[in-house]
């Protein structure tokens, strides 16, 4: 059976070049970077080289990069660490309604410590309006956190415009760029942000490693305390092989970005064009043009996401859904709901996230396999039956 992996938003595969770079640090180069001998020196040099590569991808300085254990950790660290460091100035935070839970839940935990959140709404395409951010900022706003791009619907935010608004207020601006870094050009200087989160497994690096970029001079409360690693801001023995992998992935992303974007956009557009034309009552979610090159997200009406995923999986296709039934919490995607998509339609969400290992043939396979799956589930759906009866009555 053909196997087609279209769940790169969950995790990208590890590129062979990245794996090769990591192997020595899983085997012979096992030293602790903090040790004062040649084993330690080798490991330390590898970590610092990786730091340089990640910094280069972002147009940042090496000493502004803090390695973490994941994108989620980077977001927790940024939101909590930046807000706590500023709390003498105020306790108000602004974030968009479609932030990742690692941002929103971190803010929720800060609310228990007296912080307040203003959630900025998004439009039907998932876009944040910089004017809305301006209106949400108060005298006591200390932190604004708006994601660079949304992994579920692909929408890319106008971070540069938002940062001009935030700068006027003097608040710190953090962006969760986990879905963006390594996929689209992200330059911290151009974005004008103060802090930025990224994760290795979003751009063909390993899982279990991320980074937080913090502009020089911006204060943050250390996340893990103990040793002197990462400038004393994130203690704990460095995950050397993963950090080396992250560095190599960053290097490759920088070198190949243009060709990757071209390839991904062309196969994505084939899917975006082909799917709604083959399936009635389906539509693209997210912004039509301001979107991640690998993101093709849809809602398919009258049926539910998990059953679609199961039937796709049966035919070798891996995808994802924002349906309530696919989440352990049984809640429909907060992103789709914030975009004004009704609950019953959000249950029919289907996300294909494309990666560099995908080909045009993969997309053609999906376009061949999916329509009969939709027909099959609709033939079972009481919602579709109701709709059909009403339509027939109308004619």
């Amino acid at each position: 059976m053909r196997k087609v992996y279209l769940d790169n938003a969950a995790t990208t595969p590890l590129l062979p070049e990245v794996f090769e770079a990591m192997v020595p640090y899983l085997k012979d180069m096992y030293g602790n970077p903090q040790s004062l001998h040649s084993w330690g020196d080798d490991a330390r040099e590898a970590v610092e080289e990786a730091r340089g590569k990640v910094a280069a991808l972002l147009g940042a300085d090496s000493d502004e990069i803090i390695f973490t254990g994941s994108g989620t950790e980077s977001n927790n660290f940024a939101v909590k660490g930046l807000a706590m460091a500023q709390q003498s100035k105020g306790k108000h935070i602004v974030a968009s309604a479609i932030e990742h839970f690692s941002v929103l839940h971190s803010i929720r935990s800060l609310e228990k410590q007296g912080f307040e959140l203003t959630e900025v709404p998004v439009d039907k395409h998932g876009l944040v309006d910089p004017e809305e951010v301006a209106r949400s900022i108060r005298d006591d706003t200390v932190l604004v956190s708006i994601m660079t791009a949304n992994t579920e619907v692909g929408t890319i935010q106008p971070i540069g415009d938002i940062s001009r608004v935030v700068k006027k207020s003097g608040a710190i601006f953090h962006t969760d760029a986990v879905a963006a870094v390594g996929t689209i050009p992200v330059d911290v200087g151009e974005l004008g942000v103060d802090a930025l989160s990224l994760a290795g497994n979003q751009f063909y690096g390993p899982k279990g490693v991320g980074a937080l970029w913090i502009k020089k001079g911006v204060r943050i409360i250390p996340f893990l305390e103990g040793g002197v690693q990462e400038g004393g801001r994130r203690a704990g023995t460095e995950n050397v092989p993963a950090i080396v992998g992250l560095g190599r992935a960053a290097e490759l992303a920088g070198a190949e970005m243009k060709s990757r974007i071209e390839h991904l956009s062309s196969i994505r557009d084939k899917l975006i064009e082909g799917l709604p034309s083959r399936i009635e009552h389906s539509f693209l979610t997210g912004h039509p043009t301001q979107r991640l090159p690998g993101n093709a997200s849809f809602c398919i009406e009258f049926i539910e996401g998990e059953s679609m995923l199961m039937l796709l999986g049966h035919q070798g296709i891996a995808a994802a859904s924002g349906s309530a039934c696919t989440s352990r919490a049984l809640k429909a995607s907060h992103v789709l709901l914030a975009m004004g998509i009704p609950h019953e339609v959000a249950h029919g969400s289907l996300l294909f996230s494309l990666g560099v290992t995908n080909s045009m043939e993969d997309i053609e396979y999906v376009l061949e396999i999916l329509p009969p799956i939709v027909d099959r589930l609709r033939s079972m759906s009481p919602l579709y039956a109701k709709y059909s009866k009403e339509r027939n009555r109308g004619n």
Binding site: A324, C325, H343, H347, P382, A385
Partner: protein, 138 residues
């Protein structure tokens, strides 16, 4: 994807008794599309026995499998026997359900019971209205 038993997968991949009964003797609808699951059961009754049961379901894999097995279990049973198809019996028959999918078995049993209620009402029996299932998604 939750870990589904082989039997759940079988009933999901090959659901039995999907459809509607045009001249049904009783119809029961449970759940709502906002929650993400909705089932409609249609029954035919002959001599106090369910001679035919059909369903339509909007929902996840578990919801579809539950509908299918409930329909299969109900066909040929007397009204009294069919009333004994409870959520736990359904879940057991399916070889278990993941914890967060257990409510699907409630839905299936409830939809069948509502169809029987509807039939009995049409027969002139007094049937107490049931409480709507709590919206457990929101």
């Amino acid at each position: 994807m939750p870990a589904y038993s082989e039997k759940v997968m079988d009933h999901f991949m090959n659901p039995r008794n999907v459809g509607e009964i045009e001249d049904a003797d009783g119809i029961g609808e449970e759940g709502n599309p906002v929650c993400g699951d909705m089932m409609t059961f249609y029954i035919k009754v002959n001599d106090n026995r369910l001679s035919d049961v059909k369903f339509k379901t909007f929902g996840c894999g578990a919801a579809i499998a539950v509908s299918s097995i409930v329909s299969e279990m109900a066909i040929g049973k007397t009204i009294e026997e069919a009333r004994k198809i409870t959520p736990s019996v359904v879940a057991k028959e399916l070889g278990g359900l993941p914890k967060n999918k257990y409510h699907c078995s409630n839905l299936g049993a409830q939809a069948l019971n509502l169809a029987i209620d509807d039939y009995q009402r049409k027969q002139g029996m007094k049937v107490k209205p049931r409480k709507r299932r709590k919206n457990d998604h929101e």
